[in-house]
Symmetry: C2
Subunit: 201 residues, 2 copies
DNA sequence: GTCTATAGATGGATAGAC
DNA sequence: GTCTATCCATCTATAGAC
């Protein structure tokens, strides 16, 4: 039971990471200074280095934690017993839920992954991109094999369209807005599966 | 006929802007230094200031020129005599063509508009966002009125879906790849209008 | 755990020679 | 039109006092 002993430290650490995540998401990683983070936390920039090695370490910890959780959810869906269409639906719903629950982390990944990938220590982000591709391609291929998805689609393009549309929503979605993240996901799924044209036309 | 006299200057200017645009698109505006641009142009950073006031002036000129052309095309489509579905189709095709012909400019706008909007001189970017919204909403509303688009869709969400999916393609599209920009646009339109589900299902 | 103080690097931009 | 040389602001990170 070491939890009580380490909890105060960890909660302060989490607090600082949350502040940093908010700024990284809002202004971008490169454009956020350690002074910005320290100011927002009510301390001086030098004090941050008591908690973290560097600015990079902060964003590293933020992204790792988030991605472990997200990909854990994808793995559960893939391993679950739902039919192919329902699995695809679940993956979309889980993604929109991530945009709601972890807006900052998603935004950071969307905006700064390309830049961070130029550093060796962030090479795991490329692995996650690859893993994400495999998840969506598997879901789509299973849907085609089961006959519920059109077989004439370019799989790679369809994957990119889904991935991009889902994640780019982080740029405009705000919790407490006119639509819940679930409503947005449902509307999106309706367009994705049935299209915007009238059935007759 | 002053063109011959100013052409050498203008072509050098255009050359430098093209180099800057490539770097801005690749690394981001903030993350590109004037020394990067000068190095790529084979001159020293101080020499750049003979051609441009500042780094901001460069990206300003790049974005203004591009957006004038793009919105000119949208206006032509709106004013043209095509039926609503064909107009929407044309707007998508023109956008994918822009991704092909002006990849750097689209990428800069996608990645750095939020940051640039924090400066007064780039407030026109907000006007262009508003104008873009009106173009797509008009095209969609006309389609619904004409009965070719589903009336049960959330117009605002559908607009965002289209806008995001079209422009985000700049992050992965490369000229000379497996698919031309027109083929990608056609596939995209197929998904957008008809969905990915099998018609029977 | 935070502060004071500052090192060391890098950034945008300028002045004047050529 | 480019180069030399440099200013000044800003940034990440460190060392040691409290």
């Amino acid at each position: 039971m070491t939890a009580p002993a380490t909890e105060p430290t960890n909660s302060r650490r989490s607090e600082l990471l949350a502040i940093a995540a908010g700024l990284f998401a809002e202004k971008g990683f490169k454009n956020t200074t350690v002074r910005d983070i320290a100011d927002a936390a009510g301390i001086l920039s030098g004090s941050l280095y008591h908690h973290f090695d560097s600015k990079e370490s902060m964003v590293d910890e933020i992204l790792r934690t988030f991605q472990e959780e997200l990909f854990g959810q994808y793995d559960e869906i893939l391993a679950g017993g739902l039919d192919p269409a329902a699995k695809l639906e679940q993956a979309v719903l889980v993604s929109f839920e991530a945009i709601d629950k972890h807006r900052d982390e998603v935004a950071i990944f969307q905006n700064d992954a390309a830049y961070l990938l130029t550093f060796d220590r962030f090479s795991y982000l490329a692995d996650r991109n690859q893993q994400s591709r495999e998840v969506w391609l598997t879901l789509l291929q299973n849907g085609i094999d089961a006959g519920v998805l059109r077989a004439d689609l370019d799989l790679e393009l369809t994957y990119r369209f889904i991935r991009d549309t889902v994640w780019v929503a982080v740029s405009w979605y705000r919790p407490g807005g006119r639509r819940t993240h679930t409503e947005i996901a449902r509307q999106y799924l309706s367009i994705l599966f049935e299209g915007i044209a009238t059935p007759a036309g």
